[in-house]
């Protein structure tokens, strides 16, 4: 009990859809009349509606979060994942007190610092140093705290030379680095981070992730992350919460949570229809299967076949696919030009076949994203033709290098590199 840092207790958040403006005064008066004077239920709050952004619903109020209850232990680094609109950001907003819940209660132990967007409150006319003070105090640091850390902050941001120059003269990258540096050196017991790791150049990102790892490992700090980058989430977080339509769908270890999340994406192993522009270039039929077998296993070749319609002469045609791992990490890219060296195709219908040789992919889930395009001009295929397939262990037993269930030993390539072992 005592090591729980944050407790969400039946938290809900309601948002009103549509335009706030004309008509709301009438609604407000009506609501006040119904609830306060006649002690009835709020006429605009329709219970039992979930927040599905694609489906049409009646009533103009939705739950962004609905009866969220969970505990986070002190020192946990928790990743919150979910589709767009699942309520991740709302959850963090509630926690950072930017807005308040409609029902329920969030209890927390210690100071909550939020890193919702870096560089909050930067004033372009102030110098870097002044902005560090400004930004730091907005985030709840005292002057003395900032003075103590300012050298570290400047050093981390790498803007020493510009520190007494107004921020409006900074490059956008520098501004962001400075903002992140201030936030990273704030030391609350609970830190809330939303998509900020995607800032700066590659070198700075590495630094930022490293800093976040330090933060979460040392000192028993509790950290909540929201990101769409499954890779960095997996590296940073120990536990995960999966939100769907404003409700907690799964909570557990980060790896399991990510798997649960990705599992939800409909598995589609063949596509039949048209994806693209029928007047120019379009993908017709596509499938992924085991060559000569009914199940894709490690020792079977994976055959990817698709039809394309070329309606018009396209100078530089791309027809291939990207192979991604289950964490959306791109693994390989294949194109018909790789072998045939043809720059383009005459108008007509074509059938293309690719084969991933056996013993290439390890056990696990993979995605194929087709890339049918005119080079450097336009890509015609979309997500709807994405195919997903599973490579299973098959009947042969191999060593333990590939068991994905053991996080350290996960291997994406099924290597067959072993040649010999000799006793000397």
């Amino acid at each position: 009990m005592s090591d729980i840092a944050i407790r969400f207790d039946n938290v809900s958040k309601i948002y009103r859809l549509g335009v706030v403006g004309t008509g709301t005064l009438v609604h407000d008066l009506n609501r006040w009349w119904q609830t306060s004077v006649r002690h009835k239920e709020d006429p605009y709050l329709k219970i039992g509606q979930t927040n599905d952004r694609a489906a049409k619903g009646d009533g103009d109020i939705v739950y962004a979060l609905r009866d969220i209850s969970f505990d986070i232990r002190q020192g946990d680094v928790v990743g919150i994942i979910g589709k767009n609109g699942a309520g991740k950001s709302t959850l963090l907003k509630l926690l950072s007190r930017v807005t308040s819940p409609s029902a329920g209660c969030i209890c927390a132990k210690g100071r909550i610092g939020s890193l919702l967007e870096v560089g909050t409150g930067f004033h372009p006319e102030l110098t870097g140093r002044e902005n560090i003070y400004m930004n730091g105090s907005i985030m709840g640091m005292t002057r003395r705290e900032i003075s103590r850390k300012i050298d570290e902050i400047v050093d981390f941001a790498g803007v020493e030379r510009y520190i007494d120059t107004p921020v409006k003269r900074y490059s956008s990258g520098m501004t962001v680095r400075l903002g992140f540096a201030v936030a990273a050196f704030m030391e609350p017991e609970i830190l809330v981070v939303d998509e900020v790791l995607a800032v700066g150049d590659a070198e700075f990102q590495k630094k930022a992730i490293g800093k976040m790892q330090d933060v979460s490992r040392g000192g028993g700090r509790t950290v909540l992350f929201v990101s769409h980058n499954m890779g960095s989430m997996r590296r940073l977080c120990s536990r995960g919460v999966l939100l769907e339509n404003g409700m907690v769908k799964y909570m557990g270890g980060m790896g399991d949570t990510i798997r649960e999340y990705l599992k939800d994406e409909v598995i589609q192993s063949s596509f039949d229809g048209a994806d693209g522009d029928e007047k120019v270039l379009c993908l017709r039929k596509a499938s992924v299967s085991a060559a000569g077998r009914d199940m894709i296993t490690i020792d079977s070749a994976v055959r990817v076949e698709f039809d394309i319609d070329v309606a018009r002469k396209i100078p530089s045609l791309v027809a291939g696919f990207n192979l991604c791992s289950s964490y959306q990490y791109p693994l390989a890219r294949a194109d018909y030009n790789d072998v045939s060296q043809q720059a383009s195709l005459e108008p007509g219908s074509y059938h293309l076949a690719f084969e991933i040789p056996p013993y290439t992919l390890a056990e696990g889930e993979y995605k194929i994203a087709f890339d049918i395009a005119e080079r450097n001009v336009k890509r015609y295929t979309s997500e709807k033709s994405d195919l997903t397939f599973n490579v299973s262990q098959g009947e042969t037993l191999f060593g333990n290098a590939f068991a994905e269930s053991l996080p350290i030993k996960s291997s994406l390539i099924h290597e067959r590199w072993f040649r010999s072992i000799q006793r000397r």
Binding site: T24, L25, V98, C105, A108, R143
Partner: protein, 280 residues
């Protein structure tokens, strides 16, 4: 449970002001004040001189329009001094009011990302404008000295001038509480923002800024007495210039009015600040 240090709940009691929080964020108040003052005239040649130029030009204009063309009485006082007294006070009121009346709208990008007691912003706005006001007041004093010692105009200070700090605080209080009420209401209904800018202008004419109360016809004087700023302006002019009237009842009324509006402002503001991000 007592061991939680932060409890976030939907609705708190009516009077839920986080005074402790504001105190904890006092460094932020300081930073905001500093920022306001430093940044206003950055990249200008005359810099802080603009603090003085603006009231001076306004005074000259008023002397021309109200004193020259309209011929409104200044109670026998030098026009420059009379107008400057009014303008200095009124400027403070209107800048604080304007600043406070769009706290939410102007700061929504910051408020949408981090939490800190929202009252920090209007408080720091009031303080930074106070510094501006004091600079302008020094200008007024300079004019005052000139007229008092080098001309034979009938200006004479009296003990009521000691009320000055009280009057300034009351004026700031009025400006802030009205501003906070307006900003809280405008997060949802934008109508008021349209009213505010010209309403403030109209309100200036309903306050004895450019005319002495004694110049107003008898029947309007009673109406003007309902304006809580009337007694403040009159008392200020009475104390420093020796004209006008000092009405203790008027000041008491103004103070009572201030208490009510402050209470209202705090209640409404603390209600709105919790959820305004959803409607602004």
């Amino acid at each position: 449970m007592s061991e939680w240090t932060t409890v976030i709940k939907p609705k708190n009691s009516l009077l839920d002001i986080d005074l402790k929080g504001i105190w904890r964020y006092r460094d932020l108040v300081r930073m905001y004040v500093r920022r306001d003052i430093v940044t206003v005239y950055k990249q200008t040649i005359l810099g802080p001189l603009w603090f003085l130029i603006q009231p001076m030009l306004t005074t000259v204009m008023y002397m021309f329009v109200f004193g020259g063309l309209a011929g409104i009485s200044t109670d026998g006082l030098p026009q420059a001094l009379f107008y400057m007294a009014g303008i200095t006070l009124w400027n403070y009121f209107s800048t604080v009011f304007n600043k406070c009346s769009n706290v939410f709208a102007a700061n929504s990008s910051v408020f949408g990302k981090v939490y800190f007691p929202r009252l920090v912003v209007p408080i720091s706005g009031t303080i930074s404008n106070l510094l501006q006001f004091l600079i302008q007041f020094c200008l007024f004093l300079a004019f005052y000295c000139y007229y008092a010692f080098f001309t034979d105009s009938p200006v004479h200070m009296n003990a009521t001038a000691l009320l000055f700090p009280v009057l300034v605080v009351m004026l700031a209080g009025h400006a802030m509480s009205w501003g906070l009420i307006i900003t809280s209401l405008t997060t949802k209904y934008r109508d008021l923002t349209l009213l505010v800018s010209f309403g403030l202008q109209l309100f200036m004419y309903a306050t004895p800024v450019i005319y002495p109360l004694s110049a107003a016809p008898e029947k309007f004087r009673d109406i003007l007495a309902f304006n809580p700023l009337t007694s403040i302006f009159e008392a200020f002019k009475f104390g420093w210039l020796g004209s006008g009237s000092l009405s203790w009842w008027g000041l008491l009324y103004s103070l009572g009015f201030l208490c009510v509006t402050t209470f209202l402002a705090v209640v409404i503001f603390s209600r709105v600040e919790r959820n305004f991000m959803d409607t602004v």
